[in-house]
């Protein structure tokens, strides 16, 4: 029986009741847009539209049509989710707009593509051998993203300027590098928040100067002794929006170099932002990413504990880090990916789509490195030889030999540093 006059509040819907004679109405879940097909077509001329960075909305390249994307900047107020697996299932599946996943047979990368695109150069490996396959993986919908702020056409000049930097790269790099087009792609990231209450216990050593009589030199000297004391302490840490990559198909080393992103510019996810752009779904799932994030957080806590100790001498250090209020977000961040070829080799480049910071692999002119290393060792070796010659004539040779030894050690140190830097420049 129903009473006359009962109207459920707006946005409430009837849900299952476990008792006969009682009806239950609950707030309608904030259902994200259904994965219905959204066609981005110009209402004026019918041409395909895409998200235009300068217009800040969907725009038509053929006529003057522009439509602002109705999404406010939420920033770090963006809603976080708790660490419950049920929370994952609450999120809608799919992307909201019909997209297809392109699978690269060369590097294994999966790229979500706008419908209509049949092939594309893989932004990860520059391979053209890309096959289509249906999107069988169910992904959690990203909740927020940062839209592209850097115009695609700015990237060429940015790349040229970047290639021309540094002395140990080939001189003709800027002119001979055949650059592929930059591909704007939204990459998946996880952000993690947590509060950590860390309690530590350690033996802390305090230096003490002790004067003693040295029977060898028949004089008074001082030496440093350390008194060890057991100490305990507490550190409270608030970690906000720790970024962890959600894809394994990009170089994490390069990606870290283009960080950070200004997360104050986060907006709620809307399919408009992806119109005409690529987007990649996560393949590093939440538990795996959280384990990485947690490992970083606990190391931060450990460092904070060490910093709270008022002495550099610490031994038998132990601590426990109690995590609370852990939460996460699944977001998309804008990155331009590109590759260029030089002397038959492929090099990867990334540009932060929000602030334009560029990083990537750069070939090394190894002859410059070896010449520099030789030049660094030369003074030491030369002085060493002179010292040896002088030793024939007497003890004076010991001084240049000593200086030569110092120079050789300095050269060795700088050579290793330079070599590492060169390897780092080429590494993916």
């Amino acid at each position: 029986m129903s009473l006359p006059g009962f109207t459920p509040p707006p946005n409430f819907e009837n849900v299952a009741s476990q008792i006969e004679g009682i009806t239950v109405f609950a707030p309608r879940p904030e259902t994200p847009p259904q994965p219905e097909r959204v066609e981005f077509k110009c209402p004026n001329c019918g041409a395909a539209t895409r998200f235009d960075v300068s217009a800040g909305g969907v725009a038509c390249e053929h006529c003057s049509y522009q439509a602002q994307t109705a999404s406010q900047v939420i920033g770090l107020q963006a809603k976080t989710s708790e660490f419950t697996l049920e929370a994952l299932s609450r999120f809608a599946q799919g992307w909201g707009t019909q997209r297809r996943v392109m699978h690269c047979n060369s590097c294994g990368g999966d790229i979500s593509m706008p419908e209509g695109a049949l092939s594309i150069t893989c932004p990860f490996c520059a391979s053209n051998e890309v096959n289509l396959r249906s999107d069988t993986t169910s992904s959690t919908r990203p909740g927020f993203l940062i839209p592209f702020k850097i115009q695609p056409q700015e990237n060429a000049s940015r790349l040229r300027a970047w290639l021309s930097k540094g002395w140990f790269h080939p001189e003709n790099l800027t002119s001979l590098a055949s650059t592929d087009q930059f591909v704007g792609i939204y990459l998946p990231f996880w952000t993690f928040d947590a509060q950590i209450q860390a309690n530590w216990k350690a033996e802390v050593g305090y230096e003490r100067q002790v004067r003693y009589y040295d029977h060898g030199s028949k004089g008074w000297r001082t030496r440093t002794e350390i008194d060890w004391v057991w100490k305990t302490g507490q550190v409270h840490l608030d970690i906000n929006s720790l970024l962890i990559t959600g894809t394994s198909h990009i170089s994490h080393r390069i990606a870290e170099k283009i960080l950070p992103f200004d997360l104050d510019q986060l907006v709620a996810y809307a399919p408009d932002y992806l119109a005409g752009w690529q987007a990649l779904a996560y393949d590093i799932d939440l538990p795996t990413a959280w384990e990485r994030g947690k490992a970083m957080m606990r190391e931060k806590a450990k460092t904070s504990c060490y910093h709270s100790i008022d002495s550099p001498h610490v031994r038998n250090f132990s601590m426990n880090a109690d995590f609370s209020n852990e939460s996460w977000r699944y977001i998309l961040l804008p990155i331009y990916l590109s590759t260029y070829r030089y002397e038959g080799k492929t090099f990867q480049v990334m540009v932060n789509g929000q602030n334009g910071v560029i990083a990537g692999q750069k070939p090394v002119a190894w002859w410059k490195i070896w010449t520099a290393i030789a030049a660094m060792f030369a003074p030491g070796i030369l002085l060493g030889l002179i010292g040896l010659l002088l030793l024939i004539f007497g003890g004076i040779g010991i001084i240049p030999l000593g200086i030569a030894l110092v120079l050789v050690f300095a050269a060795l140190f700088f050579s290793i540093w330079l070599y590492q830097k060169a390897l780092d420049s080429e590494a993916a």
Partner: protein
């Protein structure tokens, strides 16, 4: 709703009458506590008021509905069982008053029927609440020791609150409602009755028992019924929503077709006189034998026992002292003196116990006292 009309109407009972199909009952009341009863009409027999156990009941008019109670739970205890139960109850008290004795208590037992209402009612309305659903969150604790991290995962339960609303159309049957003001306290002391064992009322079940006349007004009884019905509705709405918790429940309802049924509950009442001269009731559930009431220890007895112990201690101390005085003459007797002094000390310390025990015991009994209008 017009629940007043639905409440059984009461009429004054002024003289001996043969209502309820039985002869010889008359209304009587206590001048001390103003409680009213139906007692067997015999003007020569004095009946002590079972409520205050102070004054005898005297004939008076009373308001009572003319219809007999629909249900009754008959007395179900044998006399020997009552004695055993009472003995066990009072023997738990050390230093109890002399009047708190099983034989005396059994002798003073009065069978009394307490009335209560059972209401059947349909509820139609709209409810609203915040439903709490539990969910589990994974948290962790990280331990660093000897250069290695160890993780201990913890599952925390949290509650998510969501608004729920809806309609309710339910019928509730046999919802218990007090008919007397002291009913809730009585049930708290002697436990609830198994209402499913109630039988249709027949005068033969009354025997020599006296019957308490309801003293809750019909308005109060209705409010109590409404409150109980609302609580039942709240529980069912929570269940309907599948929620583990509920808060801010509100119900806008119509209560239709209320049907009142009166039920008589069997209670044995006896009493003892405490140190201060006040009579303390002891109640026995006439169905299952559970005993309730205030068991006071006698402070007077405590002081008496303490006096004896202290006197003994004093005597032992004097003897010990005298013995010690003659010890220089007969040295071996010194050991007896020491023993006597030690015993005097023990008796002196033990004298404190009977003083403290009744005080502590009686403090614990205070919350059990039934609030009575005297």
């Amino acid at each position: 709703m017009t629940q007043d009309a639905a409440f059984p109407s009461e009429k004054p009972i002024e003289t001996e009458d043969n209502f309820w199909g039985t002869l010889g009952f008359r209304a009587a009341g206590c001048a001390n506590c103003q409680k009213a009863y139906l007692v067997k009409a015999s003007p020569d027999t004095a009946v002590l008021c079972p409520n205050c156990c102070v004054a005898n009941l005297v004939a008076q008019p009373a308001y009572l509905r003319r219809e007999p109670p629909e249900l009754i739970i008959p007395f179900n205890l044998k006399a020997e069982n009552i004695r055993i139960t009472l003995e066990k109850f009072v023997n738990e008290v050390w230093l109890r008053p002399d009047d708190c004795n099983t034989d005396i208590l059994v002798q003073r037992i009065q069978p009394v029927f307490f009335p209560m209402w059972l209401i059947d009612c349909n509820i139609y309305g709209i409810w609203e609440a915040e439903a709490g659903f539990t969910y589990h969150v994974k948290s962790s604790q990280e331990f660093f020791s000897h250069g290695q991290w160890q993780t201990r995962e913890e599952i925390e339960e949290r509650v998510r609150w969501e608004k729920r609303t809806g309609q309710i159309s339910r019928c509730y049957e046999n919802v218990p409602v007090p008919a007397t003001q002291d009913y809730p306290e009585l049930i708290r002391q002697i436990g609830a009755y198994a209402l499913d064992t109630a039988q249709p009322f027949e005068p033969k079940w009354l025997n020599a028992a006296i019957i308490r006349i309801p003293d809750e007004s019909d308005q109060n009884s209705w409010y109590a019924a409404q409150s109980t019905l609302d609580k039942k509705a709240a529980q069912e709405c929570q269940q309907a929503a599948g929620a583990q918790y509920q808060r801010s429940f509100s119900l806008t309802a119509e209560y239709r077709s209320p049907n009142w049924t009166q039920l008589l509950l069997p209670v044995y009442i006896t009493y003892y006189t405490a140190d201060n001269g006040q009579r303390q009731q002891i109640f026995i559930n006439g169905q299952n034998g559970k005993v309730g009431g205030v068991r006071l220890a006698s402070q007077r007895k405590g002081w008496q026992l303490a006096g004896i112990a202290f006197g003994t201690a004093l005597l032992l101390a004097i003897l010990g002292a005298l013995t010690m005085l003659i010890t220089p003459l007969v040295p071996p007797i010194g050991i007896i003196g020491i023993i006597l002094l030690f015993l005097a000390l023990c008796a002196g310390v033990a004298a404190i116990i009977p003083v403290v025990y009744p005080w502590q015991w009686n403090r614990r009994q205070l919350p059990l006292k039934i609030s009575r209008s005297e």
